[in-house]
Subunit: 373 residues, 4 copies
């Protein structure tokens, strides 16, 4: 197994450990080479109970033995002071206050919640795309009152955004700015958590609407694919892709699929003539994000797997490839309206949620943003 | 019930009567105010048997009593000479030869098969859109050798094309030419016939590919929405929307839905500034195709039903509205990349297949293209 | 349309009118030949709003025009005094108190809730089975304090029980007492109401457990199929099939089906030798419940439709036959362990819920139990 | 990894390697500690192609690298002479002749096909139940003309039979003969192979019939749970549980589940009083088949996993536990008609198919029935 820089086990805590994303954190972290689950946090209803009694386990693998009898704690910072890293799988209605309190207690939080994604000092990081945005952390720490030494919040993106910005990033790296992007999603029910989507609403059905999702995709894409600008006042700001304006149009649909968001994407490049489908395919295959080159243990071998078969990727067949940590792209072809179109599949509960937070934390450790004692 | 021009019962035949589309023809025609099922045609395997024994009935209503004991015939013109109209639900591998033989026998065929859709003398008619294309029939008859008096072939469009060209037509009528259209479909399994899609391929899955479907949508749209040009040689030709070039990009997906194709559509108009979402909504509601104004009995009250709820249309809830003879549109809103985007739902087995052929035949009767004796 | 005894329109109210069962009551009663929807009752959250705004409509037909603008009332008896009949689609947590209050106000309630099913003075009526149990109503009225003239509660059975007691009753009428019955159900998600079963729990899955359902089936079957005994004290009691003890074993499963409960039933008769499969088939076809012979307008032509095809009934194909008011039976054959086994399909939202209450009310009108002024 | 008796790699061939069961054999054998895939056999249509081109791969893990470029052979014995073991995933229409030809060539075949299950000299072995039936092999070899030294056929059982005879066997070992068993199955679509069940037949549906399945379950159970009798003529025969007659009644249903057969089972014991639910639970947990005690590498730790939660086992959550090599039992409780009822879940593509054949082969190696050179 890979070693972290100091060869030490790093203690981590999980907020919202009994929820859907929390269960996924538990499953992944129980076998992580660097991180050791030290505290499980959940609501007061669960606190004081062993994890097996507090949780309604919905994973297809059994509860890991290391957490079975661990007593669940309330989400108060005092229970987590020994943790170098806090993973948050909290729901949005709880995440705002709790994550703020944890940061105030000088703790480093990697959150899957949406609450701080639009905060101008919080990086919104898709680990295979824009880990360079970690450079805003010192400014975030300096802006707190009192300023922090170790505490901060890093968020990851919406599960739909995450999947499709990875190939977009690969294309921008290879061919320069994208000018327009039209994406239509077919999203899995697990993206809505548990109990989530009522079965009467989705069996034998498509729901062509997911509240707030289109706005999230259109906005988050700009923050993630944009750069960081240095202001005259010495302050860094996210530039929202402003130097090369990018228009994004998202149409989001819920379909009766358990895991895995499928997306039909069309893009138009600034570069004329645009790249050919074959050039696009090669650029996607060649894409190597920094998280791979610096050795994050949870990154997949193929950040982007490119299918040649005409009918792939498919969620049921491809979502668990590489444990869902990469994305699959297929059907790269010309678009008669924009330039190029293709299909993306991303596992919304892995790279689209918990796996992203974990790789973000690995990046932060390797780059020294998280201080491991 | 409405009367046909002459107040007579019109005898009709059905080719491929035991298949998926054929069963739908049987169901609809058994209760039709003008048409009487006179002959049922199927393969030699079925010929000679009563319909109830020949068919593997898969409709949710029982086999209509008028056809239960009708003896199925082979698809030879001599069995159908008394029929003023032939409806064809044949598979593509049989339709080519059989429909040609029937036309040669001076019979009027309304076909759901794809074989003659690209024929330059065969109209491809979506009944709520381009019934004016029936004007090519005399030329089609004149071109046969020997020329025909009554026989011809009219085809209807692919089930996906049918659904979305209805609102496109409404928009072009109100706002002038559309310049670009990007459509992503989520298509029902019944669109593939029976046995069609294996359950192992589609439960808990999306298949982002349907062979030939994208090409059909991109090509058929131009023939349907285009006009008919009169050549210097006196010959009419389909102009393929050439005076105002229209670019169409289709991405077709199969989803685990039984009936009803859902489509996310974005359009760009030539007209600047483009119409607002509210103007688009009003134009869709106001759209009245000729089939309504001249009194076809199978047309719906609302050619296009516009939903105001944010999460409609949905296939399971809306596909059977008006017996599936109209289309539903919802979520009309601005598109950040093109001008306007919206969601269309069309019942692929009704307006997308048998119902279209039947309304086409009603139009042909009312316009005197079919000669009823 | 059929006339009620006095040829008058009968005003009815609906409790829980915005819920799943309530929507079904609305749909059916809006087109009922005798009953006119006069008041819609729901929670205080809905009261004061027009029905279209209060309801989250989930039926596949539009909201009937007669109720669209009707103002929803709270479930207080004073709003319902003009109603000769009250249909209750209330949830169990509300039904207990409200239905009692309505009865105290001398109103006649036909309830789909479970609360009073085990009450020794309340009949539990499956309309195609044991309408004779209406004879307990005078005793129920006399037992109230003060005694009632018109008010009472009639309940219908659990949706699973309803479906399979109809063929059981037909068999007992033809062949005498059944001694043992083993039933395994595959129940639709709509049986759990809305939002009901989370999609993550049931897509690509079977849940072999429905809380309390097996106990309900085992107990309700005895009350329904049993008779009424006259005690020495002049009091009537339900005999729970005690003269011929009947053992029932139910195993209840939830499956990913929208509507329609499928049940595999095995029975052992007291009569030796037992009837043959063919005799059983004939007895099922011949079964004519009193609700048919006295002319209830909502009863189906076939109380029990017997399929000959080896693979029927199936919920998707057969649940809407006769508007779901009858039951389908198929695969009648010998059971190597008990005597005879067969498959039953019952539409849980029609005969299993609202339709049963409505036919019960029709029976009560025709028998003079409901006083129509 | 465990060692086989001789510490050698054992070369194996796979017949029907491109089919559904064949793909599962490939997946499992590619990582097997003893067996090495040496030859892949398929139809003449596939022969001569590399496996990746011959197969339409439908597994959720990629094609194992060791077979990707292996050239597929026709199913003729001469290509398989170096194989000590042949696994057959052939369809029934091909298996009869081919398996016979292979046996005639003195090859040892472990077949998943049904063709030889009723052969009086072929053992029908569920590896966690009746490996003692391997003792019939010498007789099978002696009966061939000419007699064989190494060749034979061993079959495994139908996927439904396999799952439920494991707990039945555990109960008979603990409590003596079972007298009656009534089982209702809810079977996954993968049990029908590919393309198998049309999606139009099973989405939002239950099909209460699977051709021949009930007969198979009722008959195979007797052969598997019965013993081997020694005749006066020195010939062994399967006694079909004749000393303690066992009546089995099976009702088989297809449900929209991808993998995993769920079964509701009721049993009556000869022993009076019968065991309590708690005694049954303990007996199931304690059950240790010989395949575990002698060290077959593919057997699971828990032959029978007993769930305590009221709503388990469920196919989606429990089918992949232990790689699907064991079975899950839950809801052990009293049956009001027979004695005890419970729910069984078995992964039909693992223990119900390929895994069974592989463990059978491991048993045969360990017992010396397969001669490894």
């Amino acid at each position: 197994m890979s070693k972290n820089p100091d060869g030490k086990q790093i203690k981590v805590g999980i907020l919202g450990a009994t929820g859907t994303v929390g269960q996924r954190f538990v499953t992944l972290l129980a076998k992580h080479p660097w991180f050791t689950i030290h505290v499980l946090g959940a609501s007061s209803r669960s606190a004081g109970k062993p994890y097996t009694q507090a949780v309604m386990w919905k994973q297809t693998t059994p509860i890991p033995s290391v957490v079975r009898d661990m007593i669940v704690r309330e989400c108060h910072p005092e229970h987590f002071t020994e943790c170098a890293i806090i993973f948050s799988g909290l729901d949005a209605d709880a995440a705002g206050e709790i994550e703020s309190a944890f940061r105030n207690a000088d703790l480093a939080i990697f959150s899957n919640a949406k609450n701080y994604r639009r905060d101008p000092s919080v990086p919104l990081i898709v680990p295979l795309v824009n880990d360079s945005h970690l450079s805003i952390i010192p400014q975030q720490q300096a802006l707190q009152n009192p300023p922090l030494k170790k505490g901060f919040i890093v968020t990851n993106a919406n599960c739909s955004t995450t999947g499709y910005v990875i190939p977009l990033r690969a294309l921008e790296r290879a061919f320069g700015p994208i000018e327009s992007c039209l994406v239509t999603t077919m999203q899995a029910i697990s993206g809505a958590g548990y109990p989530g989507v009522p079965s009467l609403d989705i069996i034998d059905n498509v729901v062509p609407y997911i509240g707030g999702e289109e706005e999230k995709m259109e906005w988050e894409t700009l923050k993630i694919l944009g750069g960081i600008a240095d202001g005259d006042d010495g302050m860094k700001t996210f530039d929202m892709h402003a130097r090369h304006p990018l228009r994004v149009s998202a149409s989001c649909n819920r379909v009766p699929v358990i895991d895995g968001h499928t997306m039909c994407v069309s893009v138009r490049f600034q570069q004329r003539p645009p790249p050919s489908p074959q050039q696009v395919r090669e650029a996607l295959v060649a894409y190597t994000p920094e998280a791979q080159s610096i050795g994050c243990p949870s990154v997949p071998v193929h950040a982007i797997f490119v299918h040649e078969e005409p009918d792939r990727p498919q969620p049921r067949l491809d979502r668990y490839y590489q444990d869902g940590a990469g994305v699959s792209v297929g059907r790269v072809r010309q678009c008669p309206v924009l330039d190029i179109k293709f299909v993306v599949l991303a596992n919304n509960v892995s790279i689209g949620a918990a796996t992203s937070s974990i790789i973000n934390a690995e990046l932060a450790v390797l780059k020294g943003v998280v201080k491991v004692e």
